[in-house]
């Protein structure tokens, strides 16, 4: 287990102004006033936290850092700690009604939006999931059940992969006779999803995480949008 380096030296190459700018973005989020009410270090959040048992991670440290507005520490946590969170919200047991998990959600969004290298590293290996959800509107699909994708799930994945086509047809609900998506999704529904991505700027976040993936997705989406009559919708 890697120890969390809380010294000031770890990110000395990043200016204080930049660290402050990122923290200001966190505080500017509309959810900010609902997620932090001050922390009196009772540690209930740590006791409930699954990630605290396996990583050098503490929701209490995060709540304390943002309460005290310790800009250097917040940057360190935003770089090195927030991706250990399981997002289970067990820490919502907080007697002060803080939500360290939601604080972390906001910090993650700021990290992704601002292209932090540590965010990119945390999401390495995750690209195929982003591709699947952004392009098909379905987060996991039957054809992802391949032995090389889930080797630690054991030998039954081989059996599933070998019988996938037939076993998917041997499921009673008609909407589940699919392999590339979890269920049958209408074309117009996918187009509506692409329009939501377009109107909310989500593709800019993808570009910041993985430029290659962004370009592949843009090709797929723009082609489908054009076929649906949306020639003017681009993601550049």
């Amino acid at each position: 287990m890697m120890a969390l380096d809380l010294s000031q030296n770890k990110h000395a190459d990043v200016s204080f102004e930049e660290k402050e700018r990122l923290f200001d973005l966190v505080k500017d989020d509309d959810r900010w006033h609902h997620v932090l009410n001050g922390c009196y270090e009772c540690g209930i959040c740590v006791a409930a936290c699954p990630s605290a048992k396996f990583y050098d991670f503490s929701p209490r440290v995060i709540a304390q850092a943002v309460s005290r507005e310790d800009v250097d520490l917040i940057y360190t946590l935003m770089s090195d700690s927030i991706w250990d969170c399981s997002q289970c919200f067990s820490c919502d047991r907080c007697p002060r009604q803080n939500s360290p998990a939601q604080i972390i959600t906001i910090m993650r969004e700021v990290a992704v939006k601002n292209g932090l290298k540590t965010a990119q590293k945390a999401l390495e290996g995750y690209g195929r999931i982003i591709y699947k959800i952004m392009s098909t509107g379905s987060q996991v699909s039957p054809d992802m059940l391949q032995p090389d994708a889930f080797p630690d799930w054991g030998t039954h994945v081989y059996e599933i992969a070998e019988n996938l086509e037939e076993w998917r047809k041997a499921i009673p609900p008609e909407t589940l006779h699919t392999t590339e998506t979890g269920w049958k999704i209408d074309e117009k529904t996918i187009i509506e999803l692409y329009l939501i991505w377009h109107m909310t700027g989500v593709m800019d976040l993808i570009e910041g995480v993985d430029e290659g993936l962004f370009m592949i997705l843009v090709d797929v989406m723009e082609e489908r949008l054009e076929e649906a009559g949306y020639d003017d919708v681009t993601f550049d």
Binding site: Y126, I130, Q139, W167, K169, P172, M199
Partner: protein
């Protein structure tokens, strides 16, 4: 002398009082926004049951006219989970809708990667709600992640005017209304509401079965006031979900010391940091259950939880860990109790941890029921049939 009214702990009673709840009833604010023309509320259908929530408010659970908001992970990897939910609806002759105009809630990705933002998440949610309203049905959410996230989204839309304005504009571009359901209802709440009717039609005796329950974090920890509680179950100190259903089926529900712990799914972790998920679920959940209860089965009500608890046990066997508990959803248990086929309906062949001993304990001839499923698969392979139908699935229905 100071006299203190000392009460024996065993004589204390706890009664939830909605008038003294620490949180406001979001529905009051929702209806107020509707009166102001900010949004429209999808009403719970007339045919509903009321169940108590954590602070005493009664929650309406629709029985029919439900629009089934499916789960990516269920449909993709454990299809018997969704199939069992539909099967139960069909057995009771209920009017339900299985949509193709439905996207993922996208919240697994959101909690895993943060490659999204509140506007996109809320717009995806409202788009799905609008799709349900357009066909005249009420959303019933299959996944615990979707359920928790949609509660968050509803909370944000009610309290953040700017977000509401942005989402309304997006919906207008899509030709849709800004609609929010009166209640965000999880399918396991529907199963709990139906438990007595399910028990009336039970054909498999489960009184020799001991089960442990794992409650999904996003069901009862996120927006906690919305979860179902019952004074007859855990003295209303823990959520009644799943436990109430299993007890109605005559199953012995065993308690264990890590009941409140997460399963270790982690959203991102189950996909790219899997050592954490499998270590946590084995060491904090499965081994504790084995040690303290040694159940025949562990039952939960969320996609991520079934996946993590089930799949994590394989690698643990290589390390001689104390594992080997089959994992199922409450909908699968309820369907099985009513005679559903273990493979044609429950689709247990997609599950990892060996569930054959559990089936044998219930009196199933496992080889025979597997052969019945294989017969259907062979017809598909030979081209005699294109798909297995609901009628095919019920050919060997236990009565």
């Amino acid at each position: 002398m100071i006299h203190l009214p000392i009460t024996n702990a065993s004589e204390r009673t706890f009664k939830a009082d909605p008038d003294n709840a620490p949180v406001t009833d979001l529905r009051e604010e929702l209806f107020q926004l509707e009166r102001e023309g900010e949004l429209e509320v999808i009403r719970v259908p007339d045919n509903h049951v009321e169940l108590m929530t954590k602070y005493g408010r009664m929650k309406k659970i629709p029985i029919d006219k439900t629009w089934h908001h499916k789960s990516c992970g269920q449909c993709g990897h454990i299809p018997g989970y969704s199939t069992s939910i539909f099967w139960l609806n069909r057995q009771f002759g209920l009017d339900y809708y299985d949509p193709t105009d439905q996207t993922s809630c996208t919240s697994w990705n959101y909690y895993a990667s943060a490659t999204s933002n509140p506007e996109a998440q809320a717009a995806v949610a409202v788009r799905n709600f609008a799709a349900a309203a357009e066909v005249g049905y009420f959303p019933l959410i299959h996944c615990g992640t979707s359920f928790g996230h949609y509660k968050e989204v509803r909370h944000a839309l009610v309290h953040q005017h700017d977000l509401r304005r942005k989402v309304k504009k997006i919906m207008e571009r899509l030709g849709k209304k800004l609609v929010i359901p009166e209640e965000i209802v999880h399918y396991s709440e529907w199963v709990l509401a139906m438990k007595d009717r399910i028990a009336e039609r039970q054909v498999i005796d489960m009184s020799n079965i001991t089960a442990t329950v794992h409650p999904a974090c996003h069901y009862h920890k996120l927006i906690e006031e919305d979860a179902i509680y019952d004074s007859e179950i855990y003295g209303a100190q823990r959520t009644a979900i799943v436990t109430g259903t299993l007890q109605a089926l005559g199953i012995n529900v065993g308690d264990y010391s890590s009941w409140y712990d997460c399963c270790g799914f982690g959203f991102r972790h189950i996909l790219v940091s899997r050592d954490f998920s499998r270590s946590f679920s084995v060491q904090r959940k499965i081994e504790v259950m084995k040690e303290e209860v040694n159940p025949d089965v562990t039952v939960t009500h969320d996609t991520g939880c079934v996946t993590t608890l089930d799949q994590s046990q394989f690698a643990a066997r290589a390390h001689d860990r104390n594992v080997g508990i089959p994992v199922m959803a409450d909908s699968q248990m309820a369907a099985l109790a009513m005679g559903a086929h273990p493979y044609k309906v429950l689709q247990l062949h997609w599950h990892n941890t060996d569930n054959k001993p559990f089936l044998r304990k219930l009196g199933f001839d496992v080889e025979k029921v597997w052969a019945e499923f294989q017969e259907e698969v062979d017809k598909i392979k030979s081209g005699e049939k294109e798909f297995m139908t609901w009628e095919d699935a019920d050919k060997n229905l236990k009565k």
